[in-house]
Amino acid sequence: MITKATVIAVIKDIAARIDKDWQYLTELDQVIGDGDHGINMHRGFTAVLQKLPEDRDIGAILKSVGMTLVSTVGGAAGPLYGTAFMKMGVKLAGKEEITREELLEAFDEAVAGIKQRGHAVRGEKTILDALEPALDVLKAGGSWDEAVKAAEDGIEYTKTIIATKGRASYLGERSIGHQDPGATSVTLMLKACADAAK
């Protein structure tokens, strides 16, 4: 079982990792976007920490994270990550602890939410290119480390393709050779999960 304490610890670890790496994320976004991804995520998770309702259930906590992200991140990442966390929160409403299966169902909701909001599919050089392969590994019974590996491969894959969604799409072929900031930030979140699973 995954406890509420673990969920809270993961969220805090994500915030810590973004605090450490936001400049790197921004640099990635300067190359093929508008150079704000790290700034936005950092602003968002700083607010998340301030507003985390630690005494509430897992669903309420995740929903709160999602709403905070929606109302503080802005740009493309705000609605996308915000929707993802909110959808997970709805799925896990009322839970004080969850099974691995419940978590994966919630992840499925998260991916569906991102796709619905962003109208993107895999292969468009977005968050999805790291997130979906990782989820596939987990659903096939793989370990968290293997999932992170799949996400990292996804980041590498984003270097080889033209962006067709998000701001990087305006660059056309010039986007090739550069990794996607969103795929990078979602991998960072998956790493926090993997570490907690150890």
Binding site: T26, Q30, I32, G33, D34, G35, D36, I39, N40, R43, V70, S71, T72, V73, G74, G75, A76, A77, G78, P79, L80, R117, G118, T164, K165, G166, R167, S169, Y170, L171, G172, R174
Partner: protein, 326 residues
């Protein structure tokens, strides 16, 4: 990074206060939000626009009679969040509905759409148009489509005129969509800009290089080329625009990106006007200046809007805002 600011984190807040203090006869700031609304609420269909900050005078400078009712300012170059847009919608709605004028960026579209959902849930009539005038970006079913750039100012102007005249929401939307269908823009830069919080420019150019097909968020353009003369650059930009659709009777907007001297904008317009004349395209009206900027970026965009009588009427109608008066 050299800027006349106090702290990158406070730039938007201080700027909005600076605008509200300078022009209380035009706008007021919604307490606690990054929103400027008209000083006096108007009983009509309301127009709300906005986006990341850094495009000043867009959009706060275009709030006023005959143009916008509310402008939402995100962090620099970052689309504002849905709750902010929602507040703006609530503040300006006079019961006749609100039209959102969104520039076509994934983030802007998603955030404004979420706000629209929130407003509809509260029973406010909301509709939206998405401006996508940038011919530098190839339009296709499989991509996010063209960006919204300087042509947005003309959408505000003309749709705003009809809203001011009392048109209902569907009609204001129809006019806005007609402007969007008829407007095309192409931009370029000779010097980049620096997002205050990022601290360094979004791209680097050598002394003899320019960036063509530039957007308005400090991001790189669609291609880099050796710096040419103003006339050659104008030829190249007009070439892209004129290849995209037919023009006969146009409004021209030569828009500076914030750091471009007015002198250079008029040098460009001098040639734009000649080229259009040589092609038999009638110039009905010309607007030159810094309207949709990218902080201190140096460069310009050229916008052509094909006009008909309906659009001319909207263009000529009185507008009285901080940055656009006629």
């Amino acid at each position: 990074m050299k800027k006349l600011i106090n702290n990158p984190e406070h730039v938007v807040d201080e700027m909005l206060n600076g605008i509200a203090k300078a022009h209380p006869e035009y706008v007021k700031r919604l307490e606690g939000f990054e929103i400027l609304v008209r000083a006096n609420k108007a009983d009509k269909v309301a127009l709300v626009s906005g986006g990341g900050s850094g495009h000043e005078p867009s959009h706060g400078g275009l709030v006023g009679t005959g143009m916008l009712d509310g402008a939402v300012a995100g962090a620099v170059f970052t689309s504002p969040t849905p709750d902010q847009v929602f507040e703006a919608i609530k503040a300006v709605d006079a019961g006749k509905g609100v039209l959102l004028v969104i520039k076509n960026y994934t983030g802007d579209v998603m955030n404004f759409e979420m706000a629209a959902e929130m407003a509809e849930a509260e029973g406010i009539k909301v509709d939206k148009v998405v401006v996508n005038d940038d011919v530098a970006v190839k339009d296709s079913l499989w991509t996010v489509g063209r960006r919204g750039v300087a042509g947005t100012v003309l959408v505000h102007k003309i749709a705003g005129a009809y809203a001011e005249a009392g048109a209902e929401l569907s009609e204001v939307k129809r006019i806005a969509e007609k402007v969007i269908a008829n407007v095309r823009t192409m931009g370029m830069a000779i010097e980049p800009c620096t997002v205050p919080a990022a601290g360094k420019p979004g791209f680097d150019l050598k002394d003899d290089e320019m960036e063509m097909g530039i957007g308005i968020h400090g991001e790189p353009g669609t291609y880099r080329a050796p710096l040419k003369t103003a006339n050659e650059i104008a030829d190249e930009m007009l070439g892209k625009i004129l290849a995209d659709r037919e023009f006969k009777d146009v409004a021209v907007l030569v828009n500076g990106f914030g750091g471009t001297p007015v002198m250079e904008l008029y040098v460009v317009n001098n040639h734009v006007n000649d080229v259009l004349a040589s092609k038999g395209i009638k110039v009905y009206k010309t607007i030159v200046g810094n309207y949709m900027t990218s902080i201190e970026m140096q460069g310009c965009s050229i916008t052509l809007l094909e006009l008909d009588d309906e659009l001319k009427k909207g263009l000529n109608a009185k507008a009285d805002t901080i940055a656009f008066r006629c």
